[in-house]
């Protein structure tokens, strides 16, 4: 996925300043930044949910608008920041909707489709609630159900907008581990908006930071996690130490 001089503005206000960037087609990339820095907008652009004011985005060497709807959905999956309630659908039915790009409006829901759905539910440990209605689930279960739908979509690039917001620590770790495992085992790429810089440092291969609609930093977690850079991103004095057991960098707020 490559962005060439892409920008978004509403009226006079620039939401995203002209940006050229290419997103890796493998591994986990974290997208961090303050609130309102343009993370969600960037993700929506890549997911074709929103058109850039100017500039072009290409995926697989083909501009985004040239992709057909379902063809694109087979390649790129997107989890919006606010998932709707999905009134009156069971978890299994919701996850099955992820197969739409493959079978379309009329195609048969084949055994292969069913297998992908089962697999996605067991990967996200939602198989136990598969017959429950989505709107009766807890926030964490609901978020994992939507994640299962995304996995069932079987795309090459996953775009996740704050997928951890409703999860407890254990589930945060398990979702990140799952995403990491998927990218390794299936040779996928994932771009994840994260607020927890330490989770990003632990699970991402690369971190991209936005501030006021502009790219301020990118790099591998080891290079990225420096006090100066973190302060630049978050405007808060921070420091970094090594995790006593795992050796990954851990950031903390100094005062």
């Amino acid at each position: 996925m490559t962005l060439d001089d892409v920008s978004v503005s509403i009226g006079e206000t620039a939401i995203l300043k002209p940006l050229s960037l290419s997103v890796s087609s493998r591994g986990v990339t974290g997208l961090v930044g303050q609130n309102g820095s343009g993370k969600s907008t960037l993700l929506k652009l890549l997911a074709r949910q929103q058109m850039p004011s100017r500039g072009t985005i290409t995926f697989d060497g083909k501009p985004l608008h040239a992709w057909r709807d379902r063809e694109f959905a087979r390649a790129v999956a997107f989890l919006p920041q606010h998932t709707p309630l999905a009134t009156g659908l069971t978890v299994r039915e919701l996850v099955s909707l992820g197969r739409y790009p493959w079978h379309g409006a009329l195609g048969r829901f084949s055994d292969a489709d069913r297998q992908k759905v089962d697999e996605a539910m067991s990967l996200t440990s939602t198989a136990g609630v598969s017959e429950r209605f989505v709107d009766t689930l807890s926030g964490g279960e609901r978020q994992r159900a939507w994640l299962a739908m995304l996995i069932a979509q079987d795309a090459r690039l996953l775009l996740l907008d704050e997928p951890l917001s409703a999860l407890d620590v254990a589930h945060q770790l398990s979702v990140m581990a799952l995403v990491r495992r998927l990218t390794l085992e299936r040779d996928l790429a994932a771009l994840i908006v994260l607020h927890d810089i330490n989770l990003a440092a632990r699970y991402c291969d690369e971190i991209i930071a936005l501030k006021n609609g502009a790219l301020v930093a990118r790099g591998a977690p080891g290079d990225f996690m420096t006090p100066a850079r973190l302060e630049e991103i978050y405007d808060v004095e921070m420091d970094v130490f090594r995790h006593p057991e795992m050796g990954v960098p851990v950031a903390y707020v100094r005062s």
């Binding site: 006079e12 739409y100 709107d135």
Partner: protein, 663 residues
């Protein structure tokens, strides 16, 4: 984010409307006033012109403003509290209740009417509102339940009084004029008494503005802010009902103002609820004043006989259509709050059980009937041949039409996410009505064939309009709905005026509109059955879209669904289904509204099961309706379309009443 300039100034439109309204009113009264002033110098002892001005024209104009303002305020409150831009006093059944009360009293206890028609009307409105509350009491007074119960009771009362009018047309002819809202006045007394009653409501309305503004948030957040949502909803609906019931009891049914004024106020830039309430009140008053003054100037003496309520849409609809492109589609907080605990029925269960039940109904409808002397009888096998020839065609036609409309209604409600959407709202039926009306008045009497041709042509005309509008951009469902409502109201106005003139052809039209299956031929029945079979098979194809679209725009796009194209195709399909059903059963059955709700209340949710379920429910309701229409007032044949509302509505009421809220 900056707000575009045009969105900040609702007062521009309000002032324009006010200037227009006042200007027209001044033109109307200029001459009599000049004469009046001149006659001050040498007054005549008995001046008719002066008396007309002082005791008819001026009170009528004041009444127009007052009634319009009150109805608009009522509509603004209802749209806010029920979170539905289609809500209005009419959709809550408030005026239908009044109308039925007056019809029944006129027929059975006429002395009460002499005692005070407004008291009777008020009692009717109060009863229907109480019935709404009664039905939704177990479902936590949720907005969705109130909307449904209001619609159902409104339909029921409307159908009942329409049936009475058809059966007793001579006695109830005056109900036509009252039912369409006549503002004619003979003194200041009605105005003053309405003013007094409305004044009572002012303080409650003012008190409720601030709590109601919080309803822009969802129910949970409102509750978290310490507001008792249930109590607020009941109080607000009661106040709105009182406002419009006062108006209805004074001047009759004036539809559409209560719907259009709040929408126009919103479109012209009133954002917060307080603003919307204030500007809709002003605009509603001006709109009705403008309509009435224009009507009086144009119609001259005959203005007495053209009820203003019937023509409010003539000015309101074009204004709404004009402003519609400015509609900002905001995701409205969902009205559905009750979690679904019903069991998930599989498609095959629905189809098998539904079909069996339906066949049983058909069997009963074919065999049970009344003999030559009106006695009840079950036909023996020996009579089967004869019974089938006479009874089966109309049953097949009615059931096919019901299936078509039920499917259309389901598709519309799913695509728009609005529980009040129905084929009637799409404007296709209205187009058919207009075409038949025109044909009837241009060519005089029509035979069945040409009437159906005209109806089809009208429906297809609206369809064409929809196509041109829809192909231009991706359609927003809310725009389509509001546009359809405006179009329907406009056409209803034309028909209403014609009916109120007392032209005998109006009764022909009314008969057709209420849907008669009596004269169905075998060929007609076959055609209807074939159309239903083909079109419903086609409707099965996009059932996956019906599952994805309710998830919202973003997830739908994310799985590769083209929003514009899928919505447009589904709307088009619904329009075709409606256009096919209209010639068979007439335009006013409301099966399309009820069938999907019956299916949902029965606990069926999966899209494909819902498609089949709605088709079967629609067919079943129409079969029963056709049987009741054939036998209930034998040898008189009742119009099937009207009976459908009377059959379906109680069924839906029972289902509504049964389900216990889990929240």
């Amino acid at each position: 984010m900056t707000i575009p300039k045009a969105y900040r100034k609702p007062y521009i439109l309000a002032v324009a409307l006010a200037v227009l309204a006042l200007g027209t009113a001044i033109v109307l009264v200029a001459e009599p006033v000049r004469d009046l002033l001149a006659s001050r110098v040498n007054p005549e002892p008995y001046d008719i012109e002066r008396m007309v001005l002082l005791y008819a024209t001026l009170p009528r104009l004041s009444m127009a403003f007052l009634a319009g303002a009150a109805l608009a305020a009522s509509g603004a409150i209802l749209q806010q509290v029920l979170r539905n831009p289609l809500a209005s006093p009419t959709t809550l059944g408030i005026d239908a209740g009044a109308r039925l009360a007056i019809a029944v009293t006129t027929l059975f206890i006429p002395s009460l009417i002499g005692f005070g028609r407004d008291i009777v009307a008020l009692t009717g409105s109060a009863l229907s509102t109480l019935l709404v509350f009664f039905l939704v009491r177990r479902r936590g007074f949720s907005a969705l339940a109130i909307v449904l119960a209001g619609l159902v009771i409104g339909l029921y009362c409307g159908a009942a009084s329409a049936l009475l009018v058809l059966l007793k047309d001579r006695i109830l002819a005056s109900l036509f004029i009252w039912g369409s809202g006549s503002l004619s006045q003979q003194s200041w007394d009605p105005f003053l008494s309405l003013l007094g009653r409305l004044a009572l409501a002012v303080i409650p309305v003012l008190l409720i503005i601030r709590p109601l503004s919080l309803l822009d948030l969802d129910d949970d957040s409102v509750r978290a802010l310490g507001l008792p949502v249930k109590k607020l909803r009941v109080a607000a609906v009661a106040i709105a009902a009182a406002l419009s019931a006062f108006v209805t009891s004074a001047v009759g049914v004036i539809g559409f103002i209560g719907l259009v004024a709040p929408v126009i106020a919103r479109l012209s830039g009133a954002r917060r609820f307080g603003e919307r309430l204030w500007w809709s009140t002003v605009m509603g008053g001006c709109l009705l004043l403008l309509t009435d003054a224009t009507l009086q100037i144009l119609a001259g003496v005959t203005a007495e006989f053209v009820p203003t309520g019937a023509v409010t849409a003539v000015i309101g609809s074009p204004l709404l259509l004009l402003l519609l492109p400015r509609l900002k589609v905001a995701a409205r907080p969902s009205a559905t709050a009750t979690p679904q605990t019903a069991q998930a029925f599989s498609v095959s269960t629905v189809v098998i059980v539904g079909t069996l039940g339906f066949l049983l109904l058909v069997g009963l409808a074919v065999l049970a009937g009344r003999g030559p002397y009106g006695e009840w009888q079950i036909s023996s096998l020996a009579q089967l041949d004869y019974v089938i020839t006479w009874r089966l065609p109309r049953i097949v036609a009615a059931a096919s039409a019901g299936a078509l409309l039920g499917t259309a209604g389901l598709i519309l409600q799913r695509v728009t996410g609005n529980e009040m959407a129905s084929p009637e709202v799409l404007g296709v039926s209205a187009g058919a009505i207009l075409a038949v009306t025109l044909a009837l008045f241009v060519f005089g009497a029509l035979d069945v064939f040409w009437r159906d041709v005209a109806g089809m042509a009208g429906g297809i005309g609206v369809l064409g309009l929809l196509v041109t509008l829809g192909s231009r951009s991706s359609i927003s469902p809310e725009k389509v709905l509001l546009g359809g409502v405006a179009l329907s109201a406009l056409i209803d106005a034309v028909v209403g005026v014609l009916s109120a003139t007392g032209d005998p052809r109006a009764f022909l039209l009314l008969g057709w509109m209420s849907g008669t299956t009596g004269g169905t031929t075998v060929a007609g029945a076959l055609a209807a059955g074939l159309a239903a079979a083909v079109l419903i098979s086609v409707s099965v194809l996009p059932s996956r879209w019906l599952a994805i679209l309710p998830l919202g725009d973003s997830p739908a796009r994310a799985v590769g669904l083209s929003l514009g194209r899928s919505r447009f195709l589904l709307l088009f399909l619904a329009a075709v289904l409606t256009a096919a059903a209209t010639p068979i059963i007439g335009p006013l059955t409301f099966v399309g509204l009820m069938a999907p709700h019956i299916v949902q209340a029965a606990g069926i949710r999966r899209p494909l099961a819902c498609v089949f379920g709605s088709a079967i429910a629609g067919a079943g309701v129409m079969t029963v309706a056709d049987w009741v229409a054939r036998t209930a007032a034998y040898p008189v044949q009742l119009p099937t379309g009207l009976v459908a509302a009377m059959v379906g509505a109680p069924f839906l009421m029972i289902l509504l009443n049964r389900r216990v809220a889990t929240a």
